[in-house]
Amino acid sequence: MDFVTFFALAIPLVVIAIMVIAHPSPVYSALFLVLTLFLLAVYFLFLDAHMVAALQIIVYAGAIMVLFLFVIMLLNLQSDTQPTPSRGLGRAAIIGGVILVAELGLLLQRSSSEQAESALPENFGTVEALGSQLFTTYLLPFEITGILLLVAVVGAVVLAKR
């Protein structure tokens, strides 16, 4: 990824991510979040993560965001009445942000001496490479994920039927 691509993706990403939390209407927030997820999928493509980029669009932008929009429209929410609380949370957020930016600046300062990138294997990030790892080295976590999803589905149905 060269600098032009990076900034062409990073600047819209940050702007749209801010719109997600700043827009008063939940529906618009959800749509901005979809845009953020799509931009991240493109970003993953440039980082040679083809499988992850496809999963990002299918799972996040497809399944999860449809669920969000479904619930928002089911609840028939109007615009948020008071977007900012009156307590010291805003101050805490600003202080935390300043600390984080300072730490990131430190990281950037040290990055000049960082090591070069390792060479990539032949089929890095493809469905084949990811799948073969998933079904050999990470077989047990993969199965546990299946159980987790089953429990989540049963739990969601039980909660919603109550």
Binding site: A10, Y60, L100, P121, G125, L148, V151, A160
Partner: protein, 100 residues
């Protein structure tokens, strides 16, 4: 080539935006979306580091993070629906049932 620190800094900025959303917004659905934003920021740094070290493990962790996020959203939205049915609000300040 963009150095790895640029990706990590972008990831940190997105994470901070997510934290800010959780702290500043009171609509519980938007708080939930900010949490998704944070998960994605972490995924970004995993993918960038996997690319940097030429190691697939980071991408596999991203796969697991995605499935956990899907499970979390399914259960979380069901809880939000249930709470809304009982209390007719999605404002996090008014949902103080479990406060000590």
């Amino acid at each position: 080539m963009v150095p790895i620190s640029y990706h990590l800094i972008l990831s940190g900025i997105l994470f901070t935006i997510g934290v800010t959303g959780v702290l500043l917004r009171r609509n519980i659905i938007i708080i939930f979306m900010a949490i998704e934003l944070m998960l994605n920021a972490v995924n970004l740094s995993f993918v960038a580091l996997a690319r940097h070290f030429g190691n697939m493990d980071g991408q596999i962790i991203v796969f697991f993070v995605m499935s956990v996020a899907a499970a979390e959203v399914a259960v979380g939205l069901a809880i939000i629906l249930l709470v809304f049915r009982g209390r007719e609000t999605v404002n996090a300040d008014e949902l103080n049932l479990m406060r000590w």
